[in-house]
Amino acid sequence: MALLKVKNMRKDFDGLEVLKGIDFELNKGEVLAIIGASGSGKTTLLRCLNFLETPTSGEIYIDDKLIYDAQKDIDLSDAQLREKRLNFGLVFQQFNLFPQYNVLSNITLAPSLYIKADIKRKKKEANLEYIKNLFKPGARKIFLQKRSDLRQQANSMHEDIEKLAMKLLKRVGLLDKVKSYPCELSGGQCQRLAIARALALNPKILCFDEPTSALDPELTGEVLKVIKSLKSKDSTMIIVTHEMEFARKVADKVIYMADGVIEEMGTPSEVFGNSKSQKTRAFLQKEPI
């Protein structure tokens, strides 16, 4: 059973066809590398998967369940879109860290906001319940108990989040920077923080859009090392990259995109060593491994 299935995804920008029907599958624990010339639509594909762009048509299945059909789901509400989006995580080329929060808060901000929203909703429910049962005996006691439970729950959830954040920071090697601000980090550290931030939401599939191309070559290594270390049977990743060597070593599956279509797809050795398409070979010759 494939974790992710993308069927016939298409995207036009005002008539410019950028994705011309993309189909692929990805199993749990696999790493997919997407390579291809500039302008071939790699970024657009990732953005469609993360609902930053609305595909013109196409379907997305997770665990064989259709979660998005571009034809039908045109008018999804913001809330519905947000929920679907949480299946995916995205690490940007330009990091897009929040400059006014320190390293720890960059990671905990989004999760804390959910906890707050969640607790708020539950409080409201408790209030309603209380009003409904206002005249039943013991209602007030139950209500107060519930409120205090919720408070405790919130506290422990916040603590958990913080613990998780610290664990992730350790994993990406930023434990000594917990209180620093993004402006005080090097490019490589910024990107590692961005990865930790995406991981904190525990997405089913984590996407990377050229995570090292805004970095000095010296800093590229440390980021690639972190990404490599993420590889495990539980984490599924899609990585758009120009680092061929890295793609070959780390990926389980490689897609070569050209002009909005998948020109070649297969294992690294199939694509790099033994490519069927003329186009792919030409591209790989130009790119230094």
Binding site: N50, P99, L113
Partner: protein, 215 residues
């Protein structure tokens, strides 16, 4: 007339100046935000209407706007302005709201799209993104132009005397007549300098506070 009397009279004028200053700020700062959102609205007519108004207000003298706001209700609508201070305040609020709206717009538009997208990808709602991610960054970026504008406002309050509101310059001119001396004018100059000096310090403090992070 002794020095005390002069100062007392100037202090009254200064009180009017301060009142106008505070009223204008309290109302134009939020109004400016509304206008800024209208100027960035996806609905074309709203966007163009709001931008045109801003262009007209920013393109013509505040003095003219004060006179128009004061006389139009009576002359055209036969519904005279009850209070001069009110008319002046309305004119100032409109004028400054338009200036602030452009500052806000510049600030908001200068925030990279990536900040919104990062928020979205992390599953935040638009409101959360605006208040938790974007707002503080905007505030930091607009502090310098806003403080400039506020200091200009202090000086512009003198325009109130055009429709005989007794602000600082008017009272110092009255004192000038009463004492047949130019000194009250200089005293009022000192009031302005002191006021602006304090504001400058205040804004420097705020800007410093916001400098805990870069970018």
């Amino acid at each position: 007339m002794d020095f005390g009397q002069i100062m007392l009279s100037l202090a009254q004028g200064f009180a009017t100046t301060c009142l106008l200053f505070i009223l204008t700020l309290i109302m134009s700062l939020p109004l400016g935000l509304i206008i800024a959102f209208c100027s960035m609205s996806k609905i074309k007519p709203i966007r163009w209407l709001s931008r045109t108004i801003v262009w007209i207000v920013r393109g013509s003298p505040l003095m003219l706007q004060i006179i128009i706001v004061f006389y139009v209700p009576g002359l055209v609508f036969n519904y005279p302005m009850e209070s001069r201070m009110f008319a002046v305040t309305v004119a100032f609020v409109i004028n400054y709201a338009c200036y602030f709206s452009e500052i806000y717009r510049g600030g908001i538009e200068s925030i990279p799209k990536g900040q919104y997208e990062a928020g979205k990808v992390l599953g935040m709602t638009s409101t959360q993104i605006f208040f938790k991610v974007v707002l503080l960054q905007v505030i930091k970026r607009i502090m310098p132009p806003v403080s400039n504008e506020v200091i200009t406002l202090v000086k512009d309050t003198s325009l109130a005397r055009i429709i005989s509101v007794g602000e600082l310059i008017k009272s110092s001119q009255d004192m000038m007549k009463a004492t047949a001396s130019i000194l009250p004018l200089f005293y009022s100059g000192i009031f302005y300098l002191a006021f602006n000096g304090i504001l400058t310090l205040l804004f420097n403090y705020i800007e410093k506070k916001l400098n805990y992070y870069q970018g």
